[in-house]
């Protein structure tokens, strides 16, 4: 079994084209890459939005914002 097209490095180098594994699956790998890229942005935006909203809510409570400004507490410990 071999995942690549290279049978031997001893032959005519000019016969060697792509040397990465799974030649022929490039289209599928591009689809995976697009899913990874779009999915990352969606995940990141949801994660950041949730964190910012949570922090903002914490800071609105009591004197938390004033404490944060005077650097007595970080939001994590409020």
């Amino acid at each position: 079994m071999s995942t690549g097209n290279v049978e031997s490095w001893d032959g005519n180098i000019m016969d060697i084209g792509p040397i990465y594994p799974f030649v022929g699956w490039e289209g599928f790998m591009v689809v995976l890459c697009v899913i990874f890229w779009v999915g990352w942005h969606i995940w990141q935006i949801k994660m950041e939005s949730k964190r910012l909203q949570t922090e903002a809510q914490q800071l609105r409570q009591g004197g938390n914002l004033q404490k944060a400004v005077t650097e007595e507490h970080s939001v994590q410990r409020m």
Binding site: M29, H41, L59
Partner: protein, 473 residues
């Protein structure tokens, strides 16, 4: 490659671009450094992360479609015939977008000539252009610090770094670009195609984003928010200068037969395949840097940040014509532009309440715009490209002030400002552009990005408590 001369040419070119990529990495390090230096301590790590993550977000998308845009869109929106140009080597599913030895292709849409040409150059060309892309996105990053959501910025970075800037490069920074053909557009080292477009996008995003809390007094008077660490800011700009050498080198082709018709003559060329020398751009780079630094020092009344920024603006302002200028011309153009953009920065800040934290719109946007226009006057009548070498019987347009002005408008306003405004407006409407007010006041790093920050907070908390106890007693 059984012929030694051919092998040396190809392998040297491959290595040449690889080295420029390494050098240009310093631009990104410099941008991160100076951006963090400008930001207040409560935002340092978020500021760093925001710019650092330009690398993957623009990197992935430039692989997926950015590189293809450059190679396929040179004919623009129908001003010259030809439509989309076939560029299989730049399609992400093409075998030449991966490790390849240059032998017989497996895929049927490319030939052995394609693989022989691109196998050793595609990756390094792609990376060199990608580094330009990071630079365009980084320019925006600094201006919007301390109040933008990182996710919003990364979407803007993808738009600018992998779509709009690379389309403008196809139009005006390619030997066959339609702006080169019709307008005689000449922008050898990217005053317009990198800096003006990034500045235009900056301005658009800043309008929708709004100023940092406290930047303007209730009566509208701008307040100075000084850099947290001016020393680090200047080192960051020094790093950008250093990386800029790689940027200039990457805009050249190191060895190319520039002789049209009979005969052979090998030379370095600029991006338009016009013969040039590294000596020419070295003279002009350094003299422009000198002019910018000296003008920045005087006009800002010895302010270190604006002196260093003036040096950068000096180089950017002359980049459009630094392949052809005389060094003293480069010095004078740089100095004049730096004085103008310094004044414009503060005028726009006062007049329109634009809070540009690092002066990016001025140092890149106005400077790039003015640099392109200045080249139209100083290089008036020069051929925009070696059209005969490129096989065109009819000469293309020559460099003119109006051709350069139209080109600068396309860069700053059409491809820079308008897409930036539309995307940031949409992000604003869906609540993704700006962080909540409370978080902005408290600081983005209060989420606990930095251990050092929390430890320091503890010390400050103790000191604050001791202060209150002492006052009560």
């Amino acid at each position: 490659m059984s012929d030694l001369a051919t092998a040396l040419n190809v392998l040297f070119t491959e290595f040449y671009y690889w080295v420029t990529v390494v050098m240009m990495f310093l631009i990104h390090v410099g941008f991160c450094t100076y951006e963090v230096g400008v930001s207040r301590r409560k935002n340092h790590m978020t500021t760093l992360m925001k710019n650092a993550m330009v690398i993957p977000t623009v990197g992935v998308t430039f692989y997926l479609f950015g590189w293809w845009f450059y190679s396929s869109m040179i004919n623009g929106p129908g001003f010259v015939p030809g439509g989309l140009v076939t560029a299989h080597f730049a399609e992400p599913w093409n075998e030449l977008m991966g490790a390849h030895m240059g032998g017989k292709p497996v895929q049927t849409d490319i030939t052995e000539a394609d693989t022989a040409l691109w196998a050793r150059l595609n990756g390094v060309f792609w990376a060199a252009f990608l580094l330009f892309s990071w630079t365009t996105a980084s320019i925006v990053s600094g201006s919007i610090i301390e109040r933008v959501q990182s996710g919003a910025f990364w979407l803007i970075a993808v738009m600018l770094g992998s779509v709009t800037w690379i389309i403008d490069a196809a139009w005006g920074w390619h030997p066959g670009g339609w702006m080169v053909q019709l307008l005689g557009y000449h922008d050898a080292y990217a005053s317009g195609v990198v800096h003006a477009i990034a500045g235009g996008t900056c301005l658009a995003v800043l309008i929708n984003l709004g100023p940092r809390i406290g930047k303007f007094a209730p009566d509208g008077t701008p307040r100075n928010i000084p850099p947290q660490n001016p020393w680090l800011v200047c080192i960051g700009l020094f790093l950008i200068y250093t990386g800029f050498w790689g940027f200039y080198a990457a805009c050249n082709i190191p060895i190319f037969d520039v002789q049209a018709g009979d005969g052979v003559f090998y030379s370095a060329t600029n991006i338009y395949l016009q013969a040039t020398t590294l000596s020419a751009i070295t003279f002009n780079f350094i003299m422009a840097l000198c002019g910018g630094l000296m003008a920045g020092y005087i006009v800002s009344k010895e302010d270190p940040y604006w002196t260093f920024s003036g040096g950068l603006a000096g180089v950017i302002g002359t980049s459009a014509g630094n392949d052809l200028y005389h060094p003293i011309q480069a010095l004078i153009i740089a100095a004049v532009i730096v004085v103008i953009i310094y004044k414009m920065h503060y005028w726009v800040e006062r007049k329109f309440k634009i809070d540009d934290a690092v002066g990016a719109v001025a140092v890149h946007g106005y400077t790039g715009f003015l640099g392109v226009v200045a080249a139209g006057f100083v290089l008036w009548g020069y051929p925009s490209s070696p059209d005969a070498l490129l096989g065109h019987a009819e000469p293309w347009a020559r460099v003119t002030p109006w051709g350069q002005l139209i080109g600068a408008i396309i860069m700053f306003w059409v491809l820079g400002f308008i897409p930036g405004y539309v995307l940031s407006w949409i992000l604003k409407k869906v609540g993704l552009l700006r962080i909540p007010r409370e978080v902005e006041i408290a600081g983005l790093d209060h989420t606990g990005f930095s251990t050092a920050m929390r430890e320091d907070d503890d010390i400050r908390a103790v000191l604050a408590q001791e202060g209150r106890t002492a006052a009560a007693e």
